[in-house]
């Protein structure tokens, strides 16, 4: 037997061992942990402003001055949500500027005298007084969902005994919050 002849059984044994080893250690599955944190996402935008006609005796007699125009809200969220209304700066009274030529005392007209109402599609809400120091609930959407458009109209409570001529103003802050 030549040396080469003697090596054949040896290499054959080595190959067999190597093949057996590969089959035993083969990796057939792999796992990767995945975690995707999706935060509460709420969106609200407002376009437009409130305008009012010049008040007349009829408005004062009825006690209400309805707005001519109002803003439109666009809102959506991945959670149920509420929209609140509050005067900017959390002031308790509307701003007041005397009519030209007059010097009436500021009546400190309460922000709640400005009432807002949402109309979303065919759904018409109720009038709600504007919050001053704290926000007032204005609109509630019980289910999460995509974009809705809400028209907002307003009315100003007016009283002969209290409200002198002048310009009453504020900036309304609409805030969307998760429920």
């Amino acid at each position: 037997m030549t040396p080469a002849t003697r090596l054949v059984p040896f290499w054959g044994a080595m190959l067999a061992i190597a093949c057996a080893s590969v089959t035993t250690e083969a990796q057939t599955t792999a796992t990767v942990a995945v975690s995707i944190p999706v935060a509460s996402v709420l969106f609200l935008s407002s376009s437009g402003s409130f305008t009012f006609p010049a008040a007349t005796d009829t408005h004062y007699t009825n006690g209400l001055l309805p707005s001519s125009t109002g803003p439109t809200l666009t809102h959506r969220a991945n959670v149920p949500y509420q929209i609140t209304i509050q005067a900017q700066g959390a002031g308790a009274a509307l701003g007041f500027a005397n009519a030209v030529g007059r010097t009436d005392a500021n009546p400190n007209k309460p922000t709640t005298d400005l009432q807002l109402r949402p109309t979303t599609g065919a759904s018409v809400g109720t009038m709600t007084g504007l919050g001053g120091a704290s926000a007032a609930p204005f609109y509630t959407r019980a289910a999460k969902g995509g974009t809705l458009t809400t028209a907002v109209d307003a009315q100003l409570i007016v009283s002969y005994a209290i409200d002198p001529p002048g310009t009453y103003s504020t900036t309304v802050v609409f805030t969307i919050v998760a429920q």
Partner: protein, 174 residues
Amino acid sequence: MKRITTALFALSLSAAASAVSAQTTGTAAMSATIPSILYINVTGSYAFPTDAASWEAGFTAGTVAASGNATISHRANVPYKISIEASGATLGLTGAAPADAGYAKATTDFQIRPVAGTGSYIGLGAQGAGAQLLTRARGATVTTTTEAQLNVNIANDVPGTYSTTVTFTIASNY
């Protein structure tokens, strides 16, 4: 394995960015300009007796009271005053004898006062020169019934029919 880790990191960053960038407030400006508003309305009229006895007593007393009343309703969002004025410089006179036709009885001889008021009678101002009847702070509707009398003087007032139209004017009293 390195590529998978990188992808997971990118997803987490994306979710965090959504929460941060969500817009949660909107604003809308509001402004309402209210002018001065004043309102007045009047109903009724003043009527005077037509019998001689009443006038005889009136000449003695110096006044003849009207039997009818005029009621004014008024309101305003500013303090205000109400004035009264005649439709001419003097009271009108008809039916007088020709010799008396030129007699001019002063509008101030016709006097008015609020029934519920404490003030005295106010002589009617001539046209364009209203006399102040009452003042009031701003407020909702008030109804004021007024009564009238005519000052008479047997030495001056000729027989005839005296007349005028009273204009009530409401104006801001600042």
